[in-house]
Symmetry: D2
Amino acid sequence: MIITLKSDTTQKGIDQVVQKIKELGFTPHISKGAERTIIGVIGENAIRYRNVFEAMFIVESIVPISKPYKLVSREFKKENTKVKIGKVEIGGKAIVVMAGPCAVESRDLLLEVAQQVKEAGAKILRGGAFKPRTSPYSFQGLGKEGLKLLAEVSRITDLPVVTEVMDPRQVEMVSEYVHIIQIGARNMQNFDLLREVGRGSRPVLLKRGIASTIKEFLMSAEYVLSGGNYDLILCERGIRTFEDATRFTLDLSAVPLIKKLSHLPVVVDPSHGTGMRDLVAPMSRAAIAAGSDGLIVEVHPRPEEALSDGLQSVIPQDFHRFMKEIKSIARVLGRGS
Amino acid sequence: MIITLKSDTTQKGIDQVVQKIKELGFTPHISKGAERTIIGVIGENAIRYRNVFEAMFIVESIVPISKPYKLVSREFKKENTKVKIGKVEIGGKAIVVMAGPCAVESRDLLLEVAQQVKEAGAKILRGGAFKPRTSPYSFQGLGKEGLKLLAEVSRITDLPVVTEVMDPRQVEMVSEYVHIIQIGARNMQNFDLLREVGRGSRPVLLKRGIASTIKEFLMSAEYVLSGGNYDLILCERGIRTFEDATRFTLDLSAVPLIKKLSHLPVVVDPSHGTGMRDLVAPMSRAAIAAGSDGLIVEVHPRPEEALSDGLQSVIPQDFHRFMKEIKSIARVLGRGS
Amino acid sequence: MIITLKSDTTQKGIDQVVQKIKELGFTPHISKGAERTIIGVIGENAIRYRNVFEAMFIVESIVPISKPYKLVSREFKKENTKVKIGKVEIGGKAIVVMAGPCAVESRDLLLEVAQQVKEAGAKILRGGAFKPRTSPYSFQGLGKEGLKLLAEVSRITDLPVVTEVMDPRQVEMVSEYVHIIQIGARNMQNFDLLREVGRGSRPVLLKRGIASTIKEFLMSAEYVLSGGNYDLILCERGIRTFEDATRFTLDLSAVPLIKKLSHLPVVVDPSHGTGMRDLVAPMSRAAIAAGSDGLIVEVHPRPEEALSDGLQSVIPQDFHRFMKEIKSIARVLGRGS
Amino acid sequence: MIITLKSDTTQKGIDQVVQKIKELGFTPHISKGAERTIIGVIGENAIRYRNVFEAMFIVESIVPISKPYKLVSREFKKENTKVKIGKVEIGGKAIVVMAGPCAVESRDLLLEVAQQVKEAGAKILRGGAFKPRTSPYSFQGLGKEGLKLLAEVSRITDLPVVTEVMDPRQVEMVSEYVHIIQIGARNMQNFDLLREVGRGSRPVLLKRGIASTIKEFLMSAEYVLSGGNYDLILCERGIRTFEDATRFTLDLSAVPLIKKLSHLPVVVDPSHGTGMRDLVAPMSRAAIAAGSDGLIVEVHPRPEEALSDGLQSVIPQDFHRFMKEIKSIARVLGRGS
């Protein structure tokens, strides 16, 4: 249930509504806009108490929400959410590209790639310290050592950093080293992890699960927002289908569809979404053309030596080239970069 | 097996090779380029006779083809195939948009839409006379009457026409009225129908089956080419996945991937591929950005009255608007429209 | 809309209702039961004329049908349909096994297999004369020659024969040689072919398309019944999913679910459904345990020499063995074999 | 790489091989059979040191393993693994049925269901204390309170208990209350959780992820075994496909296929696998007929009041009935219950 208050409601009025919501056993979520204040009432069957609030003279309207997600919905918040990381803003006018190696392998390599992607126009550095690997015998990432390297290279290059967390016990520690916490596709429904980052203060990049519907994706986002963390970026990264010519099927329709349903920013990962280096450039262009707020791309100077996902990493020269095309397409849509 | 002949081979030399291929029980497919002639040898295990041809002094090289498709492959033909329909060329520098109502419903409506889409920049008129419907009780199309209307409106507007054929017994008749024969997704593996249009003289628009891999899609194209008809346009129109927020999952990765594997032109159908009007414009932009040679779009002035697929038809005004964006994106990629 | 007539209605009364239905532009489908007569009224929005029929004193009740299929539904006909082919009855108490080679390859092989599967308890011989092949260069079946061999071996062994038809132009010819017409998975939505066998007199075995929902499957069955042919057997044969360890994913839940929704008999094809010889026996047992009315199994004495689908054919000795297990499981469920 | 030692090898000989493996930086996994000892050498590219071990006279044979999983494979261990929980043995001759409510809701209800399923022949009690819910606003389980109820009802009824864990921080605590730790489908690739239960001492029931191939499923099992915990039971519970008539598509082919590839026991969850009460009985019969070692079934006396998954719970009377059919089918396959 969403309560819209009249435009001249005072703070005291807001407090009264909030207190009533709490008394009834529900959780209030307050969103103050330029003109008026909207309060989401979270809890099952809250709509049964509709008349309690309708009776309050400061209430303008009440909208029951049948969608299973609330805080993430466009009904709850009409304007696009802009997630700010230092000087970078995701979800605003400019498209934002995050780039870097799949896994952090060494300081030199990380620094080399970071400088190259920065020069090409990337605004955020990506790199994995903890790697989710299908096999227990594959390289699992450098762990804390990798986090330290990310933090160091971030300082040198002045690029904010995004990295993946898999274990709720590591959220706090990782948050000390990086600027954006990534939840990977395999953990999209790891609800304890979602609650943990929901309680945290770092912006979250949530990847869509490979078998998740868009509705389930938004429900997982709801876990984070309902924990109090509103700085969430959604990421389409391909779904699992019968087609085996590509590693996954990148579902670009998800971009304009999520934009309709939710106020949250959406970015696309063409590297994991296709699993093929040659498709990264065309699908990056397509993602931006479909309305994506940005990209997250794997770049590696020597893909054949990469410890993880070499097949889908592009080399810096190619990255440089398609960044130009992307900027031109962004301009066609009235967006900078 | 593909035989490349030396650049100075005479017609007599070509004839000798062709005769040898036939003697051995195989089928020759000759492709004369500007510089040299290439001959595909079709038939199982043709490669066993490699040495027979290697011994001929006019043969430059022999390439065994392990891919199950041959005539449609880039190995067989390096240059892009351009399918010509009157003054229109699909697969060339310019992108080509086909547009029109899902089903032909009446002369007036068809003419109205045809004039509107032409004005917006569409080069080909689409419209169904025979409609494949899941239910035997749904509107099945106007049949021959619809074909006549298509032909008439084509004459008035000077737009070539594409329409679907479902029954091999109707290929000849339909070919008299329209310029491009469409094979729908449900019939992508209707092999008797593929053979029938392969023997025909009309260009063919082959839609990908909803559960077809790209490899199977190209194999079905191979049926048409191996019948002697090389004027084939491939069309990505969405595959069936678990995601039910959209009608199908439009697999845009298929566009750059097919471009790598095959010389045939590729277009995209964002209307059936998403099943949602609001997604047609963004996915059309994305398709062009991914490298598609064109689009096939459903346009209807009053979608709520459409006898078929109203939900996914865009209105002429919106079509006009996104045609402009598409042209701008095409220019970014160095293509006209 | 389904009209149930009072139990003492005369033929004259039935004729009156039928005539009224026709006058209104709908198609009547009459089903005379032991006790009372039911008339299906086919056509869009027939329910609008409900009051016309309610006013007739011989009408007991009228049920609007919201399901998109009508004639195939349990609402339309409560009792199981039993399809009779000579002495064999599919859909009755006994389970029925159809077996034979994938493709008809030679008279001797066909006769050898037919005698072996008959001895093991199979009641119907299967074998393909026209083979739908992904590649235009693969063995396409013996065609009419294969039909003649099937007819001859049928006479010798006294086993009825089921074979696939792909082209509507061949339905009549094939019907002269065999007892059951099979529509393959690729043609489940080849509506012209469905209409053709719907007009025919031979029982039809309709296979589920690899990307077809159960609802679509029943809609295709509706095409056949609405053409006047009520002798239809449905066949689950695996759907396409992301799992690639098996050729398809055999959806056995479809068996009890279809039994709930429809009165038509259901059989299972464990050979195509798994694509692996070792899985044919366990999945055959599972199919019968799930309530299937029968099986259609590929048997070949020398699978490694088979011209088609050798990997999934079982050898006669193994077939003999699992037929015994199947009979025991059938008995547990109160069914013979 | 798997090293098989000669049958008369002493403990000292075994120790020498083990030490050598460790020296080379690999991890040894020792499996002592009745006749001979087998040692798995875990680590990437261990096979490069093949000659080191071939030179040892106590080594009988060395088998390189190309499959990405090792400890779970049939090559590593030929005999079926039998997981013992008190007097119950899963993977042995008898089939084992686990049953109970989806979520633990109250002591009385849990005790009522436990006594009913025990009477019907169930050997293990299931019930969720921590529930993974798509929505943050749905009932999330009783938590620790639920664990205490499970432990109490287990003591009263003498039924061992299985329950789900989602958070690695709770593995130790949950292990104090229950006999089998369940890893749910959503956490099949929660690698930190897998490692945690791999280090634990409780048998593990690992459910297949809804988008996981069988290969990935076995890889996740490998995480647990490589942690030292060999008591693992695999559970097929349905995969996500395009079919929406059932909640998931129960992939029964997985049962005989996993039995071929692995020595681990396999059970089936027909409740989540179909999501429909009416399909639980037929799919339970089918699972046993396909070779499953057991079932895990949701039973609730008043499904309409269940706080979770009421639609798919069967009532005790129906459970009683189909347990009889299951026992009969098990006997056909030479198995008790």
